[in-house]
Symmetry: C2
Subunit: 680 residues, 2 copies
């Protein structure tokens, strides 16, 4: 009679298609690992974690030449029953692969949730799904008990177990020593350890611990956003945001740098504020998700250079003036407790690398998310804040710069301007015939000429106009013929509408009521901002030697708010097919999440930023030239996009012939002086 | 005409004997480095640090076949003159090798103080000099200034400079980032960095920094000692000691463990106490030496296992009972600030490895100092505290154990016993005829029968008897015939002297006045202690299969206090030629200093402790047998050492024939019970 050891079965794993012959009696998980099939396990095959669940195919599979069925696996035993009792019973056809033993030919499907390196898809529009391979992983370890006859400390025996059972030899930091003996005894010589980069133990828990958590954090000048993730599944359990409390030191970054320059303790004060806010946000997000903060093991950060330095306790004054030297551009990792964040005491914080003095880790996050280096197509990534951070390139070359747009796109330095918040006008339409306006306000879905508009307004009513509103207002004024191409509000049109009123030697246009008007100075601010943005982009295009781009992604809150048609009409971005332009959403934050969940992505972005060619707009003579060129409205040849394609409902449209080069616009030089740098 | 570039000179360096031919015009330091000659430099050849000073030989050196002289070097220039002005003028014949240029044949002597790896000799009796090669070194780096046209953060340019100028690529911890930019600008783009293990930067100072410091610390149960060293020269600048404030929780270690067992916060309390004490000691030592604590970059620690665990914040309760499991035996390194020690914020603390549950990092320090593994001779190292830690072996095998001597040798659990402190009787003589006593007291050099003894006593008078005093008293009582070999105070001798008085059913002997007497119980305590020590040693000798040892070193304060003749007469240590026994002094502390000043010694001790065979006396049946055997006074064959050789002035000496095996001595079992472990 043939002995069982000699008999073999054919086993095929899907979706990988890996296959092999195995002796009957071999546990399925072991067979899978021998073939290199990606099956997860925290407990190492003890039937505790349930991560290794598989589905047994039933029937004939001609493609593979086998007949498979649950009867070709050992029957579910006590361990699987106990697992089902402690958790939920296994679904029909599901088995723990660490317990099920091969007894015949099998087709075994490994569902996504049982794969270590499964793809995490955020939403359909994701530029790329994340391949789950977190920097921090949990391992259950059985440790030889202390015994009088045996030598070896508790730590030695733990590390020996970790090596024997998982092939790892990580460092054990001294800070964890005080709790080690208690954990080993409470867990009856079985503990779960969290290991960082396979190199360092971050935490030890008694017994089996199912999952650890991480938080991806986007520290913006205005808002701070946190995304709490399960490191085992990659799922976002909760996303929260809050205002950056530093705002009381100045809405824009340069005001905050000025505060630091003028107050000896200013830098420490701003550092304390931002750290306190991050700590509060993380605590609140964990509480909302029902997660113990001590189970948070990793944090990743994206931020602009000034927020990055302040978060790390570095004074931003060097970033406030030429030569705008970063203290550090490399990625930084440090204990989360050094940032005063109350998570697991061993938790590691990682800040993505910065790119240049004004192109920060937030842009690195955008790049990680948008992957411009993985395509032959030329991508233009624009993140607009007080500065615009611009990346241009493809798989061959990448360039970056920042351009001093100033805060007008954020609603600052505009007479009725305000941040994008409930009550702010975000949409504006001007009837070219009557010159009557229609508006829409953040917090309401109704246009002002729709019934019920007044009742649907947020409590504070109409409070001002935000960046996207002012851009639409300026474009609409031009479309309606009350703004010249040079950006002068045309007083000659005042007879057509009472909304056009003299304002000193210039005119203003009333958008809503008496308080929300667009002044000549407001138009100038928008012209300066859009010209700076356009000039920065054009400089990079020059360097890359391209006349057009294949894809434009507008990152951040501004990119999500703005109506792309208006950005194109205004000439903020280069001429481009309208459907090639889109909002990237919270690309920086998504980049932080990639760095949290995928180990390789950290090396990728660290080497990528080194490849980026940094262009310093402040010392590029061409920048001044392009800047002046770009002041007129609109700008660009509009050969790819005709104005009529953007606004097909408009009967009459202004002439878009490229104007002759204008004289330097008044106010430009003084503004450059007023801003000591292009930081932010 | 022959060009200078083609002409070459012969250069010989002493004491290394390295030699080579070099083109005229080459700086001497560069030639030396090319030959691998060991010449120090912090400033990298800028003429700032003066570490590379050499002496130019003058005259004919037939052995080397050259004629050398100062005229074969370029004349001293402005840099050397400036160096002499800022420091002290260079001695005649001395040159900075980084400035002097080869212009002819040369014999160049590199004096010890210019060698990186010079030998540091503590004192003539040193078991081995330390080869200076500190774990932490300073490097002066010139950094490319920040420039608008150049990309690269300040950190990138610092690391690039360090690589280009010193060939190093260390990590830069995030905690140093906040001060980096200030240091670079204050130092005008020249900074000194402290680098740990060539792998991590610990500190950055503006400009040139001459030297860094380290402290070797011996944390004993009773006292804590600190040795402040210059890491550049290896010199001990100051050694200070203080009482361990934990003494208020119990004189011996087991009382402190009991305190921890009985108080929930006890462990943290003891940790706080010892850390506060170390911090205070380090601060005081630095102040006494005129050293800024921020210039202290490294700390090394030796301690017994319980102090080791408490220092690291680990509860010692597991060490208080079987199986006496250490949390960690491996060497531990951690930021000094995690121990609450106010030195340089980047300073690294290193605790030497422990050997076993009762054989601590202090014994590792003793091994590093005494080097038993480097000799074929069998060494016995004994460190006596509440426990005796014992190491036996040679270059082939090493064994270690601890033996539960109890605190009697430290003067505890003895009726008139006290710690070795001023006022304690440390020497006792008994006239065998008159049975009159003579004593000497710590704090006075006079014997009690010498004139002026009373006046020379320390202020507190005679306060008790310390460990060495009680040992001498017991041996003298036996030599005088008033103590039997079984350790019974012989009441029949009471007629000879009023000092022998009944004490319940036994007798006591008055050593000094009415208060300092030796009771029957005191004798039993000493018998138990010496029997435990002897049994432990014999167990190791059994295992090593040797009948005698070649060398005995008694480490620690007790080893320095005790008169070796009495230790031998009592049978504490095995029979051995008297001149083979000596005190090792503060061997543990010296081991800590070696670990501070010599990089390789850390790896040496880390691998050495793994080789040590640990013997657990508690589960060795032979230990009980040897223990019982060793109760009698004296013990041993005394074939190597006859009693008459130890005490040549004594006319009459007791019989030293080995007694028959005695019955178990009363009190032994209960004492083993009373001591929950042999810890300490």
């Amino acid at each position: 009679m043939e002995s069982q050891a000699e008999r073999q079965a054919r086993v095929v794993f899907t979706p990988s298609g890996r296959r092999g012959r195995f002796p009957l009696g071999k546990p399925l998980l072991q067979a899978a690992w021998e073939l290199g099939v990606d099956i997860a396990s925290i407990c190492g095959g003890r039937g505790l974690c349930g991560r290794c669940r598989v589905v047994c195919g039933e029937g004939a599979f001609p493609k593979h030449g086998i007949v498979s069925g649950p009867e070709h696996l050992s029957p579910a035993g006590a361990v699987e029953t106990r697992f089902g009792e402690r958790n939920r019973p296994l679904a029909p056809g599901h088995r723990l692969s660490c317990q099920a033993v091969i007894e015949g030919d099998l087709l075994i499907d490994v569902p996504p949730e049982s794969q270590v390196h499964r793809q995490v898809v955020r939403k359909a529009a994701d530029p790329r799904p994340i391949r789950l391979d977190p920097v921090i992983r949990l391992y259950l370890v059985d440790v030889a008990p202390a015994d009088l006859g045996e030598s070896g400390s508790d730590l030695t025996r733990l590390l020996d177990g970790l090596h024997a059972q998982w092939g790892l030899r990580p460092e054990f930091p001294a800070a964890l020593l005080p709790d080690l003996q208690g954990a080993l005894r409470a867990g009856e010589w079985s503990v779960t350890v969290a290991v960082h980069q396979d190199a360092e133990i971050l935490a030890v828990w008694p017994g089996f611990k199912e999952s650890g958590h991480g938080v991806a954090i986007d520290v913006g000048s205005t808002t701070i956003a946190a995304h709490l993730c399960d490191l085992g599944s990659g799922d976002v359990l909760r996303s929260n945001g809050m205002m950056n409390p530093q705002i009381r030191f100045g809405e824009d970054l340069m005001s905050r740098v000025s505060h630091v320059m003028m107050h000896p303790e200013g830098s420490d004060e701003l550092t304390r504020e931002v750290r306190r806010a991050v700590n509060e946000l993380v605590a609140g997000t964990a509480a909302d998700a029902g997660v113990d903060p001590r189970d948070i093991l990793g944090l990743t950060f994206v931020c602009n250079p000034i927020m990055h330095h302040l978060l790390l306790g570095i004074s931003p004054v060097e970033l406030g003036g030429a030569p705008f030297a970063l203290a550090v551009e490399e990625s930084v990792h440090l204990p989360a407790r050094d940032l005063g964040i109350a998570v697991n005491p061993g938790a590691i914080a990682y800040a993505l690398p910065c790119i240049a003095g004004h192109v920060g880790a937030d842009t690195a996050g955008v790049m990680l998310c948008e992957q411009p280096h993985r395509s032959g197509a030329v991508s233009l990534l624009v993140d607009i804040g007080t500065n615009a951070e611009i990346v241009l390139g493809n798989d061959r070359r990448l360039l970056a710069c920042s351009s001093p747009t100033g805060p007008a796109f954020e609603g600052a330095q505009v007479s009725a301007g305000q941040r994008a918040a409930p009550g702010a006008i975000e949409r504006v339409r001007i009837d070219p015939t009557t010159l009557e306006t229609r508006i829409r306000v953040i917090g309401s879905d109704l246009w002002s000429d729709e019934p019920g508009f007044g009742d649907a307004l947020p409590a504070q009513g109409v409070t001002g106009i935000c960046g996207s509103g002012i851009i639409e207002a300026v474009v609409e004024m031009w479309l309606a013929g009350i703004l010249t191409r040079d950006g002068v509000i045309d007083g000659e049109q005042a007879s057509r509408t009472p909304r056009l009123v003299p304002d000193g030697r210039t005119f203003s246009f009333a958008i809503h009521g008496e308080n929300v008007t667009v002044t000549q100075t407001d138009v100038r601010q928008i012209q300066l901002a859009k010209a700076a943005l356009h000039a920065g982009i054009r400089l990079l295009m020059d360097r890359l030697e391209v006349d057009s781009v294949d894809r434009i992604r507008l990152a951040g809150a501004f990119g999500s708010h703005i109506d792309v048609r208006y950005a194109m009409a205004l000439g903020m971005i280069p001429d481009c097919a309208p459907d090639a332009v889109s909002a990237a959403g919270n690309a920086a934050g998504h980049g932080a999440r990639i760095a949290l969940l995928n180990k390789a992505s950290r090396r990728e972005i660290e080497s990528l930023v080194k490849r980026v060619e940094k262009v310093e707009t402040a010392i590029e003579p061409k920048f001044q030239e392009y800047f002046v060129d770009a002041m007129a409205i609109p700008h660009g040849t509009h050969t790819l996009t005709r104005l009529g394609d953007l606004f097909p409902d408009r009967a009459r449209l202004p002439d878009t012939t490229v104007p002759k080069r204008s004289a330097p616009v008044q106010g430009r030089r003084s503004r450059r002086k007023a801003l000591p740098s292009n930081s932010g």
